[in-house]
Assembly symmetry: C2
Amino acid sequence: MTLAELSKLLNLSPTTVSRVLSGNSKKYRISAQTVKKVQAAAIEHHFKPNQVAQNLRLKRTNTIGLVIPDISNPFFANLASKIEYELRKRGKLVLLCDTNEDTDLETETLSLMMSRKVDGLLIAPVGLSSDHLNNLKELPTVLIDRYYKNLSIPYVSTNNYEGAYQATKYLIERNHKKISCLQGLTNTISNAERVRGFNQAIADFNISTKDIKIIGSDFSLENGYKSANEILSNEDMPTAFFALGNQIAFGALKAIKEKDLIVPDDISLISFDEQPYFELIVPSITTIKQPTEQIGQLATEMLFDIIDKKDVKSQLILAKMIERNSVISI
Amino acid sequence: MTLAELSKLLNLSPTTVSRVLSGNSKKYRISAQTVKKVQAAAIEHHFKPNQVAQNLRLKRTNTIGLVIPDISNPFFANLASKIEYELRKRGKLVLLCDTNEDTDLETETLSLMMSRKVDGLLIAPVGLSSDHLNNLKELPTVLIDRYYKNLSIPYVSTNNYEGAYQATKYLIERNHKKISCLQGLTNTISNAERVRGFNQAIADFNISTKDIKIIGSDFSLENGYKSANEILSNEDMPTAFFALGNQIAFGALKAIKEKDLIVPDDISLISFDEQPYFELIVPSITTIKQPTEQIGQLATEMLFDIIDKKDVKSQLILAKMIERNSVISI
DNA sequence: ATGAAAGCGCTAACAC
DNA sequence: GTGTTAGCGCTTTCAT
C-alpha cells in the first residue's frame, strides 16, 4: 500500500494524507474530521510510509553508520550496545560494519556508507594513517576509541596514556622492575598511547630498561597467548605482565597456566579493559577500566551536535583502576 | 555530484552513464571509448550513485535487518560477527537492532525495518508468542537461535534439548543426584528446550525430583549470581550446578566464590555456551558449545535461498560437549 | 482547509 | 550505440 493508493481510497490528495500522517495537520489546518478519517484508514490498511522514498525526498535517512574493528571483542560489543541504545532513543537506526581491523575493508565500508547517505558516522578506525578518512570531510563523523591527533574530526576516547601510566606506576610501586608489556595492534592510537604511558612511567621512576619488554602485534587472545609464551620461555622471567587489552590478558592467563605458574605468586598481571569476568575468576584481575558507557553516550551526543551544526570538542576520558588480586608486592 | 550532472559534463545521456557505471556496457554495446570516458570521469569526480535513489527505483536495498536481544552477550556478539561477515561477502549491509529482550521494542523494530524495505530479516526473537512476527509474512526471514515450532518461518538453532540432555546425563553418570539448574529467560524457546532436556534426563535416569531445582529468570550474570546465591543459602546444597548460559555460569561462579566454595571440589559446574575464557580460568569449565559459526553461516544461506525463492528447511544443529575440569565424580 | 504539480536521483522500456 | 521519457513513493511549494 502506497500513499497514493491510500489517498485514492479516501478521496483525498496525497498531500493531505501525507500532512496528517507526518503530524502536520495542525500546521496546515486540516479538519479534525479528515484527520480522523486518514488516521483510521492508515491503521486499517497497515500503511507505513516507504522510508526509502521518504529518505530520497528529505535527503536524510535517520541512519547512522557504526564502523567497528571487531564486534566479537567484548569491549567493542559493549560500546556498540551502548551506542545502539543511544541512537535508538533519538530515532536513528544503526548500519553496522565490522572491519575486522582491515584498512581496505574500512575504506570500502566508508564509501558504501556515504553512498547510502547515512546521516552520520561513528568510527573506531584502523591504522595510524587517516588518509582514508579525508573523503568524508562533509559527513558528520565522530571517532570513537581510536583517533588522530592532528585531524579535525572530533573524537571521544579513553585517556590511554594516563591509564597505562597509572597501571605501570602501580606495578612499580609494588617493586616490580622486570615488567613485560603485552601490546595490541601497533598501528592503533590506543595501543600507541598505552605504550607511551608505559614507557613514560618506566622512565619517570628510573627503571632500568634492560628488563623491560614490549611485545605483541594485535588485541587477540591468540596474540596474548603467543606473546606471553615467548616471554615465559626465557630464563629471565619478568615479575609482572601488563596486558594492553582484555583478550590479551586472557591469552596471557592461558600461557601462564600452561607453564604451571600461579598469578600473582609467580607473576603479577594487570590489564587494560574491564571485563565482568575479571571480577569472578581466581585470582580476580586488577584492571584499568575504560569508560565505555560515557564514550558511547558522549560520542552520540557529539554526533548530534555536529549534525545540528553546533561546535564540539574532542574528549579524552580518564580510565579508572580497579584494584583486585592479580598483583602482589615483591 | 549526481548522475545527471556527470552526464551533462560528458555530453552523454544519464542512461548511458548509468549503463556503464552499473557494468552493463557490454549488454548495451556502449563503445569502448565512451566506457573509458565515463569511468575516468566517475573516478575523477568521485561519483558514487546515490543508493537511496537506486533503492527506490530498484525496490531492493541490499540491506538485511539483524535483530538481536542483547549484543553485549558474547554469544550474540559472536553470532552477529559471523553473520555480518557472511552478509558482507554477499554485498549486503546490516541494519542492527538490539531489542534488549523487550517484545514491544522488537515489534516496533520490525515495523521500522519493514518500512525501511530491508531485503530480508535475521531475528533472534523475544517471547514465547510469535504474534508480532505475523506481519512480516511476505518479508524473507530466518529465525536464529530462537524459534517457534508451529510457525512457518524457518529457523536455524542449536538443538538445545539434546545439548541439555547430554549435559545432565554427564552429571548423573558422575553420580550427581542433587542438581540445580540455573535457567535463563523463561519465555524463550532456547531456555524452554534446555529445561525440557534437563527434565527428561532426570526422568530417564530415575533421579528423585526432590533434590532437583530449577531456578532463575534471565540470561544475565546478575541473575546467575542471584539464583546460585539463593540455592547456596539453603542448608541442603546441591552437588552440581547446570547453568543454561555463559553469563549465568559466571554469575554462579561469583556466588560460589563468595561462599568460599571451590569448583569442582565443593560443587560441580557445567554450562551452556562455550566461551574462550572458560578454557582459561581455574578450574576450566566444562561446557556445551553451541555451533555459532554454523548457525550464522546456515542462516545467511537460507535467507538468500528464500530471497531466491528456493525452498528451505529449518535446522537444529547438535551442540558439542567440551569436557574440562569443573565437574568431578562423586 | 485542500490539491496540483514538481522533483529528490536513479533505471529501464522503448525509440531511433 | 545512444537518448527520451516515465516513474519508483514521497514531500512541499504554490495556488485556490
